[in-house]
Amino acid sequence: MFEAVAFYLFAFLTITMFIITVTTSQALYALTALAAGMIFISAFFFILGADFLGAIQIIVYTGAVMALYAFGMMFFDTTRSVKEKQGNKFIITGLSTLAAVLVVLIVGAPMVSNNIVALYPTIDGMGNVQNVGLILFTKYLVPFELAAVMLLVAMVAGIVLAGKKMDRSITLTNDAELEIEKNKKVLS
């Protein structure tokens, strides 16, 4: 019963938050709503017993991603309300069709899930974090390492794009100027 109440409560909250996110014209509202939604989602993870995931969700999303977005927002000066031209009503029809189709589909056709054999079963008696750790460093070692590479790529990319003077073009600067600049760098 508790589970049901919690589910519906958080479901309502997340849906509301995300609707606000996608509809509001105030960027700040959107950001806040998104952050709230993220946190509410982590609640589901806790309900479902995925504690580790819940923690990650809060740390990564609310801690890192949202902070990044907040910086970004300050940079872009989008604190005032965002004006968005909407082309036509196509979007409304499109989206309603989509929603209708999807909901009908999910509700109307319950999944046959009785014969699923868990390939990597949760080991009883171990905490979620332990379970995660066990599987992450055996089976999913390679994806994990690759994820590390991915983050490195993202970092390098972020640095290159945002930090390395991409606002001017070396292509178009002539050689002499470039030479001067180089020397300056060495000197400084």
Partner: protein
């Protein structure tokens, strides 16, 4: 409380990981070198990258030797999968990359090559692609895909022009949406089967006789949408022309080959078992994808005024053409896919490189884009050799025998014919005829019109260095004399594909 997990080291089959590790190490090395001593010339990084790619290639050869001896190899807790498809895919990826990387040794200076990060990201990207193809675990596919994509967005943006940023942003945003599709599709399949490994998914679905067919199809639809984005199938193709235009010509050529072959390999793994289960929906949908993509993109290519954009649409069309192999799903078709793509690599990379060597830093006066048709008018008079080579690539793309791509088309259409897809074969053939028009248009401009810009022909080779010439030479020779290599190639590919069970 936690029992120690014992894993025999041999069972890891570490060599399955070697081909991906090599470029990663290379990338790290480049980053380290830059940290230690900055301001080094790009040629160093080019050579380093090339070196690591060569090593990568050799490690692939080693794996290929193992594969042809022992058959499919699983490694790293059965996450890594080295089979024929993985190897062929990686051969193409690494091979095309080796052809691409010397293209950065241009005569003119371009922004992106002044960053060592460019080369590091490039190697990371290759590793990402290699992971994509060398596994049947959807998670790894996803992560690999994202690694390479993120790197690729950056590489495009690093060209540092308004258009390239625009291209990168468009590509990135759509890619994010596609990633969402991919995740959702994987989720549904996971919900259905409790597995994220393609062969297991196939097993489970087969064992319950596709009882949840509607649900399966929803999952497949999402996955298909994600692949269609990557493979630029209509209507998920919209990024392609803009991104190709925004990226540097060399990068555009590269993009038309490598990401797509990676996606093709994954698509082959993913759809083959469904096709073989004779799911009518999938056949119909793929059929529609193939036909619409081929035809519509050909039509759009007809009306382009910029050569690069035309080539972009033509690449979409070629992808649609090759998608037919997935639809047909026989060994012959799958072999044809690889054969086609190898031949396509040479030809398409060659033609984009031809654009690349004619690239100016600024727009030429009176031209609205870097590579408008007008720019090439009368090229035979001012720069005959370049015109001949460009014409050669165009003929090859159009499928005029005996140039490279003809053999791919031949084998591909033959595979359609052999599986009873008569109408499809005809549509494929006739689309080649439509495509003939826009390739011909460039030939017409080059050979039959009077020059508009540059009477001395210098602009056509403005960017040429020995390295670029070499690459173009290799591509041209490969295009002309492809018929010599078809037989060994075909035998090799067929052996690999059939040994992997596709």
């Amino acid at each position: 409380m936690l029992a120690p997990v014992n894993i025999p080291f041999e069972s890891l089959n570490l060599m399955t990981l070697a081909p991906m590790l090599i470029p990663i190490i290379g990338a790290l090395l480049i980053l380290v070198i830059d940290v230690v001593k900055g301001g080094l010339d790009k040629s160093l990084y080019v050579v380093l990258a090339l070196l690591f790619l060569v090593m990568d290639f050799f490690s692939l050869l080693g794996n290929a030797g193992l594969f042809s001896h022992d058959g499919t190899i699983m490694g790293m807790f059965d996450v890594m999968l080295i089979d024929g498809l993985a190897l062929l895919g990686q051969f193409i990826i690494v091979g095309a990359s080796m052809l691409f990387i010397p293209l950065s040794l241009t005569h003119k200076r371009f922004h992106e090559f002044s960053y060592p990060e460019f080369f590091a990201l490039f190697l990371f990207m290759i590793a990402g692609f290699q992971f994509m193809v060398a596994t049947d675990n959807i998670i790894l596919v996803f992560v690999g895909l994202e690694t390479s994509s993120l790197a690729l967005y950056t590489l495009i943006a690093m060209h540092n022009r308004d258009k390239s940023f625009e291209a990168a942003i468009k590509y990135f945003t759509m890619g994010a949406l596609a990633a969402g599709f991919f995740a959702f599709g994987a989720m549904i399949l996971y919900a259905l089967t409790g597995s994220v490994e393609i062969n297991k998914i196939a097993l489970v679905l087969a064992s319950n006789g596709y009882s949840d067919i509607g649900y399966v199809l929803v999952g497949v639809a999402f996955m298909l949408a994600a692949f269609a984005f990557k493979l630029s199938l209509i209507p998920f193709h919209t990024w392609a022309p803009d991104v190709y235009e925004g990226a540097s010509a060399a990068m555009a050529g590269y993009m038309s080959i490598v990401p797509k072959i990676a996606a093709f390999v994954v698509a082959m793994r993913f759809f083959e078992f469904l096709i073989h289960s004779h799911i009518v929906w999938l056949e119909v949908v793929l059929y529609a994808f193939v036909v619409i993509t081929m035809t519509a993109s050909n039509m759009w290519a007809l009306v382009q005024t910029d050569v690069k954009r035309m080539l972009a649409y033509s690449s979409i069309s070629h992808a649609g053409f090759v998608m037919a192999a997935i639809l047909i799903g026989t060994t012959q078709a799958n072999s044809a896919l690889f054969l086609y793509w190898i031949l396509f690599s040479f030809t398409n990379l060659g033609s984009f490189s031809m654009l690349w060597i004619s690239r100016q830093k600024n727009l030429i006066d009176g031209q609205s884009s870097d590579h408008s048709y007008d720019k090439f008018a009368g090229m035979i008079k001012t720069s005959p050799v370049a015109a001949l080579i460009m014409g050669l690539f165009m003929l090859s793309l159009a499928g005029v025998p005996p140039f490279a791509l003809f053999w791919g088309k031949l084998y591909m259409i033959s595979s359609a014919v052999s599986s009873g897809y008569t109408i499809l074969a005809l549509i494929m053939a006739l689309n080649s005829a439509i495509a003939g028009y826009y390739y011909l248009k460039l030939i017409v401009y080059m050979f039959m019109k009077e020059p508009v810009v540059g009477v001395d022909g210098e602009i056509y080779v403005a960017n040429a260095t020995l390295a670029l010439r070499t690459i173009i030479g290799i591509a041209a020779v490969a295009t002309i004399f492809a018929f010599v290599a078809i037989n060994p190639l075909l035998e090799f590919i067929t052996a690999f594909v059939s040994k992997s069970g596709y």
